[in-house]
Structure formats: structure tokens, C-alpha cells
Symmetry: C2
Subunit: 225 residues, 2 copies
Amino acid sequence: MAKLLHHKLDPSSRLIRLMAAEYSVTLTFEEVSPWKRKPEFMDISPAGSLPVLIDEGLPPVVGWLAAIAVIEEQFAPAAVEGLIPSNPAHRYECWRILEWVQGKLNDEVTRYVLEEKVGRRERGGESPDVSALRAAKTNLVEHVHYFNWLVASRSWLAGDSLSLADLALASHLSVLDYLGDIDWSEIGETRDWYARIKSRPSFRPLLADRLVSMPPSKTYADLDF
Amino acid sequence: MAKLLHHKLDPSSRLIRLMAAEYSVTLTFEEVSPWKRKPEFMDISPAGSLPVLIDEGLPPVVGWLAAIAVIEEQFAPAAVEGLIPSNPAHRYECWRILEWVQGKLNDEVTRYVLEEKVGRRERGGESPDVSALRAAKTNLVEHVHYFNWLVASRSWLAGDSLSLADLALASHLSVLDYLGDIDWSEIGETRDWYARIKSRPSFRPLLADRLVSMPPSKTYADLDF
């Protein structure tokens, strides 16, 4: 059985956990803190990237792009519509949004919040930089504004079926929600879309995640948030 | 014939130009400045991402991930080893390095240099922030250190054939070289690897690129740098 090195609040790890669960791929898990930069982890993932998929017959598969490729190529069910849309226009839209979420949303919002609230703590106790958190919050409003516009006219982000784009955005929002950085009353249409994803069986293990002495926000595990 | 909206010094645009040239796909080109954020461009690419591929029968294809998918699916030659390795271990290695270059290297080096030297200028004349440029230069040393180690034991970044990983790193280094931000005497093994890529026919159009009233460094177009 393949093993996933992951961090509970790393959005790329969550994306791959969701992808595997949607495809009914059973994985074992091992937790890693990318912020601690332990030598045995940095040897496998020199950029400190997560997740890492360890499977027989392959060198460790490092990062979300490589992990998507492995799961899609080796585990995707052939008979059903997968998480990469078969319609070409929807497929390229899926990649566009995936790049947006894993690139721009991560750079402007999620990684700042994670660094300030989790990274500093895991490295040993510095307190968060409030101005970085405030900037991330302002940036999040801009992103949500766009996603509200998108989901107002579509069932799912890339078209009419659930895709990797949805799993990626839901991963990031779930991390921000855990850390109390989302005011759902201000989120608009994206809130209804997130409620649909959150109630999927694949999401259940994520909602049970808890960081030691850092409980989630009240809304985090509530399906009726 | 498909058209590529691009910027001459945007590394993701260069990656797709190189990929298309390696596959002998002929494109037409239209230049866009992502920094000017013109409404007609932002309507097509709301995140301001480049490149954008415009082809008949498809909505605009936005971003490097989506453009890779289109070119690989619609234009890749079936008979030869393509730019995504057929060996699984090499293929996942290619995705790992692509994520590194387009994510980490871009975030820590290239986008700072581009923002300070090109973005500020194209928006209208602010002078660059010297401390950001200095930080980018320090970060580049760390990255090159790793790539030196990698190319010391492999013909190409992801294994024994040219792949998207090589084209991506070469795109970033070429942009930094244009702007005079690489001291080749300090680059080590990566210099020899870059010399091999630079002499490929696919690279020639990039070496002829010139920004208006911003000439390239002396080494930029020199194959014997």
C-alpha cells in the first residue's frame, strides 16, 4: 500500500488526500512538519515540498504535480468520469484554476497564514506577524470575489462535474477555516459550493484532523456552518 | 494557426514557446504586458497569467499548466520521445522539478527580479527596490547549488532525455541572464547544461528577443558565454 508523507494543514497534501479518497485509493499516512526541515525529510524532498508519495517500485514521488500524475495514471478508475474532465475546454479550465489556486491563492493568502500561525509555532514559538495576516485576509477577499462570480454560473469550478480544481480550492479554504481566517457570512456563493464539497465522504477524514493544542474554528467541522 | 499571448521575458511564456518549437508546432504571437493589466487582457486572464493560447474551437487556454496540456494532447508527436518522459520515475521527476521551478524558483527569485526591473518600468517608471533584488540574488545561489548537484549526475534534469523540466529552468535562467542577474563564472555545472540547451534551434527565437530601450546583458545571446 502506498504511503503519503503529509502535514494535516498543508493544502497540497489535502488536495492529494481528497483525490485519492475520491478514487477510492487507500493510502497509509505519515505526518511531517515541513517547517522543521529535518534532514531525513529534506533528503527526500530538497525543496521541503509536500506531499510525498512512497510506493513500491518507484523513487519517492515529490510534490502535488507529480502526485496528481501518479494517482491519475496508476489509480484512476477508467470507467467513470474522473477528476480531470474529459471535455477539453473543461479540462484546460481545470488546469487554469489549479494553477491559480496552487500558485496565486497560495502565494497571496494560504502560505502566509500557514507560515505565521503554524510554521512559526512548529519551529519553536515566535508569535505571528499581524500585518502579514492582515494582508492575507485582504487578498483572500479579492480571490473569493472571483470564485463567487465563477460558481454563480457553474455547478463546479471547471464545468459540470467535480474536478481537481474544486478539490484544490476546497483544500485551501479548509486550511484557512481551521485557522479561523474565514468569515463565512461574507463569502457569498462560494459558501454554498464549499458546503457541497464539505459533505462528501472524501472530506470526512480532513474534518477529523486536529493539530496538537491548536483546536479548529467553530465552523471547521460543522456541515451546517 | 494557434496564437500565443505572451511577454518576451515571462518565463512561463518562454517555457511554452520552447515546448511548441521542440514539437515543431508553429504559433503566431501577440505581445501583452501583464503589468499593465489592460481590461481586454484581464477579461481573458483574470489572474493576469501568461501565456494564453488562442485556438479555434476552444475558449482561450490560460496559464502554463493548461498550455502544456493542450500542446501535449493536441500537438505532441506520437512517434518520438516527447518532453514528458515515458519512463515513470523520470516522468514524476519531471513534474517535481517543474513544480520547483515554476513555484519555488519563481517565487523566490524570478518574479522579484521581473517585478523590480520590468514590471515597475512597464507600469510607468518607478525605480527598482534594491533590497528585493539583493534577496533574489542570494536565493538564486541556493537554487543553483541544488541544480549543480542534480546535473552533475544526469544528462538532463529529469533523467536521460530533454524534458519540460529542462525547458522550464532554462526559461527562468534566460530571463535572469537577459536582465544581467547571472554571474556565469559562479554557476558551476548548471552552466554547461545551459550551454547545451541554449544552442538548440528551439532557443534561437528567444535569443533574438529585445525589450524596447532595455538591451540584454553581454552574455545573453552569446553561445560561447
